[in-house]
Symmetry: C2
Subunit: 345 residues, 2 copies
C-alpha cells in the first residue's frame, strides 16, 4: 500500500511530516511512502533523522510550489498546479498511490480532491468526519470544515456518509444521527437548521432529532451533523478548552506542596485523560465523499499525529471505506437517497 | 432597587428561582424582588423554604400563562400576553422594576424585550453577552444566542456593545475584539464572515482580526463576536466538555486506591477549577442592546445560578450599563457608528 504524503503541508513541514512518516514506516511494515514536495528538503530532513533502511519503501515526487494559508482553496488548485497537495491528489487519481495524507491548507485539499477525484456517486459534497471522545466512547462530527456553506441536501449526504463510516469503523450497526442545533425542538434554529431537520426526518439514517452542544459529550447520538463553518469552530473550541483545562489544572496542582504530592500519586489519571482527549491520537480526519482516500491532519500536527494520520489512511484503504459507502448508498437506501438528490436538484 | 424575577422560567421553576431569590434577598440588603408568575405556587415555594422576614422586600405579580419551549419567541409575545416573562418585561417598561431576571425561553425573553422595550439608540439588534473563563481571566462572547441570523452590521453593534460592557465591568480601557472564524486570515470563512471582517476593520472598536476556536481560551482578545447560532452552539459545547471532563477525571481518579489518595490531597485544585468553570458562578448573561436591564439565566439554572443572575442584574443597574452604552455610541464614535448604520439601512 502506497501513501502519498504532502511533505510541505502543516505548520512544521517538512520536519513533522517526515518524522511522522519514518515512525509509520517503522510501525506498519506493509506501507510505503511517496514524499510529495521539495525533494532536497525532504532528503535533508530524512538524513537529519538518520532514517536509514527504508530505501525500498520510500520514493519522491518533487514539486516546486507550496500553498499559502492566504490562498483560497479554488485558487490554489487553479494557480498552483505544482503544489505538493495538488500533486499528491494527482498520484491517487492516476493510481500511483492509494491514499493522501496532508496537514496543509484544508481548503486546498478539499478543492483539489473534489475537482480532481470527483465525488462518489450519490454524493454532492465532501465532508470532514472527525472522531471526538465523549462519555463511553467517541462520536463522529461531520462536517469539520470542508464545506462552509452547504445546502440542507448536502447535510443529508453528511449524515449518510457519517453513519456508514461510523458503522464500518466502530462496528455500531445502526448509529444514531443528531443535527447540531440550539435546542432539541424541531422548531428551533435558523431556517437552514429547520429545513435540515425536516429532510433528515425522512432520510435513510437513524435520525434522533436535534442535539445541543452540551449534550454531545454524553453521546445521545453517534453521528453529529452540521455545516463546516459551525463544525470547524466547535471542534477548535473544544480542542482549545481541553488544552487550557490541563494548563489550569497544572497551575493549581503546583500551587502547594500537598497538592503536588497528590498530583504525583494520581498522575496516571491525568495521563489517561490527556491521551484520551489528545488530537494527536486521532491523527487524521477522512474527507468522506471524494473518490479516493484523503486524510486531513491538523495544521499544527506533531510527528506523532502525522504517524497516526498515516495509520488512519491505511485503515481506510484496508477497509475499502469508499466502496462501502457506494454499496450502502446503492443498495437498501437507493430510493430514499435518490429522492433526496432530486429534491436538491 | 427592584428586580422582576420570572418565577416560572427555567427547568426547575418555581423552585430554583424562588430559592435563588431568597438567597439574593439575604445577601443583598438593597434589593427587593417582585415575583412574576403563579402567585399561589410562588407563595407555596416560599413557605416550603421557610423564607420569612422579607415581607417588606417581596411582592407578587400574578400571571396565568407560561411559555412552552416549543413556542417561537415572537408567538410567545403575541399569543401569551399574560406569560411571566412578558409581564416581567412590562414591569421594567412601566418603571415598576429596574431589571428582569429570567431562566426561561431565550427567544421569548429576546422577543418580549426587543418589542416592548425597543433597542437602544444606534443599536438594531440585541445580543447575549456571555463571560467565559480563559487563561488569565475571562473573555466576553457576544452573541450567545439572541439573534440567530444577524446581518454583518448587527455584528458591528455586538462588537461595540461588547467592548463597552467589558470596559465598564472589567475595567479594561481598550478591549480587543476578535471575529470568531475558521482561520485567522481575512479571506477565511463564509461570505458573511468575510463581510463582517471588512466592516469590523473600520468600526469604532479595537479590532484584532479573526480568532479561531482553539485560540479564544488563550485570550488573544477580550471580546469575541459571532452570530447567535454559532455562539449558542459553541457556548453549550464548551460547557458540556467541561462537565464531561470532571466526570472522566472522577472515574480515572477512583480507579485505584493510590490515585484516590492523590485526589484527596489535591482536592483543592479540582474545586478551584470547578468553581472557575462553573456556569453557576456567572449566573446570568445580560441581553445588551435593549432599553432596560434584562438578564438571561441558563434554562437549567441552579438556585445559586439564579442568585448570581440577580447579582449580575444588580451590578448592571448600579453601573448604569445602558446609559454608558448610549453615551459611548453618541460621543467619540458618533460618526463611525452612524456610517455603519447607514450601510445597514
Amino acid at each position: 500500500m502506497k501513501i502519498a504524503l504532502d511533505a510541505m503541508g502543516g505548520d512544521f513541514a517538512p520536519k513533522n511530516p517526515v518524522e511522522g512518516a519514518v515512525a509509520a514506516l517503522r510501525d506498519f511494515p506493509d506501507i510505503s511512502i511517496v514524499f510529495v514536495g521539495d525533494e532536497q528538503a525532504v532528503r535533508a530532513e530524512l538524513a537529519r533523522q538518520n532514517a536509514t533502511g527504508f530505501d525500498s519503501r520510500i520514493s519522491f515526487h518533487h514539486t516546486t510550489q507550496v500553498v499559502d494559508m492566504k490562498d483560497s482553496g479554488l485558487d490554489s488548485v487553479r494557480k498552483k498546479k505544482d503544489s505538493s497537495v495538488s500533486r499528491a491528489v494527482d498520484l491517487v487519481k492516476s493510481g500511483e498511490a492509494d491514499a493522501i495524507v496532508s496537514a496543509g491548507h484544508t481548503g486546498a485539499l478539499v478543492a483539489a480532491a473534489t475537482i480532481k477525484l470527483r465525488t462518489l456517486p450519490g454524493i454532492d459534497r465532501a465532508g470532514l468526519a472527525v472522531l471526538i471522545p465523549c462519555d463511553g466512547g467517541v462520536f463522529l462530527l461531520i462536517d469539520g470544515g470542508a464545506n462552509l456553506d452547504p445546502s440542507p441536501e448536502h447535510i443529508i449526504g453528511f449524515a449518510v456518509m457519517g453513519s456508514i463510516y461510523y458503522r464500518e469503523i466502530l462496528g455500531c450497526p445502526s448509529p444514531r444521527v443528531g443535527l447540531l442545533n440550539i435546542g432539541t425542538e424541531s422548531s428551533k434554529g435558523t431556517e437552514f437548521a429547520q429545513e435540515c431537520h425536516r429532510l433528515l426526518s425522512s432520510a435513510p439514517v437513524n435520525f434522533s432529532g436535534n442535539v445541543e452542544g452540551h449534550g454531545i459529550f454524553r453521546k445521545p447520538v453517534e453521528v453529529v451533523v452540521c455545516d463546516g463553518f459551525v463544525g470547524n469552530i466547535v471542534l477548535k473550541a473544544i480542542e482549545g478548552l481541553a488544552k487550557s483545562f490541563f494548563s489550569w489544572l497544572k497551575d493549581e496542582l503546583k500551587s502547594s506542596p500537598i497538592r503536588l504530592l497528590g498530583a504525583m500519586l494520581s498522575k496516571g489519571a491525568f495521563i489517561s485523560i490527556k491521551n484520551r482527549t489528545s488530537t494527536d491520537e486521532y491523527g487524521g480526519t477522512p474527507l468522506l465523499g471524494v473518490n479516493g482516500i484523503c486524510i486531513k491532519a491538523h495544521g499544527n500536527s506533531s510527528a506523532r499525529a502525522l504517524r497516526n494520520a498515516i495509520r488512519v489512511a491505511r485503515a481506510a484503504v484496508e477497509q475499502r471505506i469508499n466502496e462501502r459507502i457506494i454499496e450502502a448508498i446503492q443498495s437498501s437506501n437507493h430510493e430514499k437517497i435518490s429522492a433526496t438528490q432530486t429534491a436538491s436538484a
